[in-house]
């Protein structure tokens, strides 16, 4: 099955015979022109964040070109990277996202395998229905969830609210449906003969899953994991509602709530914090992009 991924990655329409070369060149130039335009659209805000992050707050307030840095400074970066508070946000974000990815992958791989390959009463409905959980918005859920956690606190004595790990419990509701769906797609694309052969050889379902499906579906798993990571890294409302103490906050909430004071925006630091906060997912994508595409290709196009 790794061949699937390779075929797709290698199938870029590079050389397809000489007769249409000129036509292709025209298409290529056109593509580049439009891509440049789109890249400008897509990258203007991050670029502007970067420019602003290099400025002092005096320069930000001054009546000079907002698109140029006249007296660049790394003070914002140094301040944030040496601030224990900011580093705590970073650590919390990484912990939360890592755990969420782990939980999501275990739950959705098991569920996807069961829904794609083995059937049980209601499995078809569940495969469709799991996607519907996205219909219930977080703005509606957070108060009942708060109440649930308070109830659990009374029952067990464990304090759920205002701990970063409560997010590890909540976020999977946002990641699991989509990841399960991708994995169902990927697993469906694996030929049935493979599991039949393994089962005849006496393998159990668990062995079938761990020894055959997981290795074969690795690109899909990576794609789903990246998705889960992106989603949990970016969450805002749940951490805003469920964590309060500075040592429990995750990055987006930490930046918005500690760098903005009252009606005063500390733009240089906010932009710096945002850029640094975007770095981990960016790095992840840079390294795993090919897997991501390959995984989605097989997982998302089947359904």
């Amino acid at each position: 099955m790794t061949t699937t991924a390779q075929t797709y990655a290698g199938a870029a329409p590079s050389a397809r015979g000489g007769s249409i070369t000129r036509n292709r060149r025209k298409v290529l130039i056109l593509s580049y022109v439009f891509l440049v335009l789109f890249v400008i659209f897509f990258l203007t805000p991050p670029l502007y964040m970067f420019i602003t992050s290099l400025k002092t707050s005096a320069e930000i307030s001054a009546e000079v070109s907002p698109w140029w840095v006249f007296s660049p400074t790394l003070a914002n970066y140094i301040q944030l990277l040496t601030s224990p508070v900011y580093l705590t946000f970073f650590r919390n974000s990484i912990l939360v996202s890592t755990f969420v990815v782990a939980i999501t992958m275990v739950v959705s791989i098991l569920a996807a395998f069961s829904l794609a390959r083995m059937k049980f009463w209601g499995s078809a409905t569940l495969a469709t229905g799991v996607f519907l959980t996205y219909l219930i918005p977080d703005t509606l859920l957070f108060i009942p969830m708060f109440k649930t956690f308070a109830f659990l606190h009374d029952l067990t004595g464990i304090e759920f609210i205002n701990h970063w790990w409560v997010l590890v419990i909540i976020y999977p509701t946002l990641t699991i449906p989509f990841c399960t769906w991708i994995m169902i797609g990927y697993f469906s694309s694996i030929p049935k003969e493979l599991d039949e052969a393994a089962l005849i050889d006496g393998a159990s379902y668990m062995q079938l899953l761990t020894k055959i499906f997981v290795p074969v579906a690795l690109p899909g798993i990576i794609a789903a994991a990246i998705f889960a990571f992106t989603v949990s890294w970016a969450q805002f409302l749940y951490p805003l509602a469920f964590t309060t103490s500075t040592d429990q906050l995750v990055l987006p909430v930490g930046i918005v709530t500690t760098l903005i004071k009252g009606d005063v925006f500390n733009w240089g630091q906010i932009m710096t914090g945002a850029l640094l906060g975007a770095a981990p997912p960016l790095i992840l994508y840079a390294f795993l992009m090919d897997y991501y595409i390959a995984g989605l290709t097989a997982g998302a196009t089947k359904g």
């Binding site: 707050s57 005096a58 930000i60 307030s61 001054a62 009546e63 957070f142 108060i143 708060f146 109440k147 956690f149 308070a150 606190h153 009374d154 609210i161 205002n162 805002f236 805003l240 509602a241 309060t244 103490s245 500075t246 909430v253 918005v256 709530t257 500690t258 903005i260 004071k261 009252g262 009606d263 005063v264 925006f265």
Partner: protein, 445 residues
């Protein structure tokens, strides 16, 4: 002034006695206490607060945990709503404006604490009572951190040059205002000044968006004209002459303001002033403090002074903060002890100083601290920040029942009304109709 001073002396003796014996000690607090308080924007203010709390905690042997919760991103509001619904969370939580009365059923009454404090600190200002007391019971203790007034803050140079008015002469630092100038400082004068500044390229920066800064100044304007949308009995009073008059005036004023004001948020006016474009905004001294850091040339020209007056008086927008004790708290005695301690004069003065004069205590006896004359440059710029003499401090939508006023306030009904009439090309009748229908929707129980 003399009266205040003797009041202070009397207080000192009481306070000295208090520290030695009664309330605090007898309650024998102990245990743990979890408090969530407003995350102050002034650097260092939180540290002063923490210091005071720790002193108390050490003395009372209470294990105290403080969370500073910002109002940014509605964090504090979410926390209050969630904790009220869940019946779990902090013991004490900071609550701005309407949030204490909004959660009446979930709050432990604090009449005993307030009785002590009123005896010590003097009468409570009207607006603080309106938002802190319901059906004869005090629901929460007025908090010093975060309680603020939003008077005008104007540019001395621009006013001199374009309006021909010396702000520092009208409301000087250190002594009483110039009676004749202050008497002529009316909303009408204000609108004329706004027009002159607009022509000179420095329009006033008063928002007509839907956040609190916008609602606050429009609320003060309405109150100065005696225009109540809903009266104290809960009756809709949109179709009155006062409302028509104030809307006509607001339309005139709105056209003299900065462009875009209907989209302004709480940060827009600050930026407008700090950028040097604006001649005046209405805001607590946060704008000045940031200007001092980022645009010192602008800061040197800033002067805070009282609102203009209208037919019904000189109304200043005021936003009190409270500390509420949840009914579900397991350590109410300790909570009350802490809140009492924090509201006594020596602690309040430290808190106000820590906030650079930003905080305005809710008790009439606690508005004579030296900090407001000391701050600068320009020296004395905050002298007129705490309300004195003829000023009425009010919150927008008062005196409507708080459950209704809360909605008028939160939904920005007042600035929306002005923006609609001024910029939306609506007739007066249409604006009144729409507002009335909107208000009818707020009568739910």
């Amino acid at each position: 002034m003399r009266e205040l001073q003797s009041g202070r002396r009397r207080f000192m003796t009481i306070a000295a006695g208090l520290a030695a014996a009664p309330y605090v000690r007898t309650s024998r607090a102990a245990g743990t206490l979890n408090i969530g308080v407003w995350d102050h924007w002034v650097p260092g203010a939180n540290a002063v607060f923490t210091g005071l709390c720790n002193e108390w905690a050490a003395r009372e042997k209470v294990e105290l945990k403080i969370d500073f919760i910002t109002t940014q991103g509605n964090k504090l509001m979410l926390t209050i709503a969630s904790e009220a619904q869940a019946g779990a969370g902090h013991d004490v939580l900071a609550m701005p404006t309407f949030w204490a009365t909004g959660h009446e059923r979930h709050l432990e009454p604090v009449d005993d604490v307030m009785a002590t404090l009123i005896k010590q600190n003097g009468k409570v200002v009207d607006v603080v009572e309106y938002l802190g007391r319901q059906d004869g019971r005090w629901l929460a203790v007025p908090a010093t951190p975060g309680s603020q007034i939003k008077p005008p803050c104007g540019r001395i140079d621009l006013f001199k040059k374009h309006v021909g008015l010396d702000l520092t002469k009208m409301y000087p630092a250190g002594h009483a205002p110039d009676a004749s100038l202050a008497d002529r400082w009316t909303w009408d004068t204000f609108a004329t000044a706004a027009e002159k500044c607009r022509q000179a390229g420095h329009p006033f920066g008063l928002g007509l968006g839907q956040t609190t800064d916008s609602t606050d100044w429009v609320g003060a304007l309405f109150a100065a004209y005696g225009a109540e949308l809903v009266d104290a009995k809960g009756e809709i009073r949109v179709r009155t002459d006062a409302v028509r008059e104030v809307l006509e005036f607001a339309k005139r004023l709105a056209h003299a303001l900065a462009p875009d004001v209907s989209a302004w948020d709480d940060a827009s006016n600050n930026k407008w002033l700090i950028s040097g474009k604006g001649a005046l905004i209405m805001n607590p001294p946060s704008a000045w403090a940031v200007a001092k850091r980022d645009a010192p040339k602008v800061a040197e020209q800033l002067w805070t002074f009282p609102s203009p007056k209208g037919p019904k008086g000189r109304v200043q927008p005021g936003l009190p903060f409270y500390w509420g004790i949840w009914k579900f708290s397991r350590n109410k005695a300790a909570a009350k002890s802490l809140l009492t301690y924090l509201s006594l004069r020596p602690q309040v003065e430290k808190l106000v100083n820590g906030s650079g004069g930003f905080d305005i205590p809710g008790f009439s006896g606690l508005r004579d601290f030296g900090i407001w004359s000391r701050e600068g440059p320009p020296k004395g710029t905050l002298y007129n920040y705490p309300p004195r003499s003829d000023q009425i401090v009010a919150i927008a939508a008062a005196p409507a029942p708080t459950a209704i006023a809360n909605q008028i306030y939160a939904q920005g009904t007042l600035p929306k009304m002005v923006a609609r009439y001024a910029f939306g090309g609506e007739s007066l009748a249409r604006t009144l109709d729409r507002t009335e229908s909107e208000l009818e929707g707020m009568m739910r129980t």
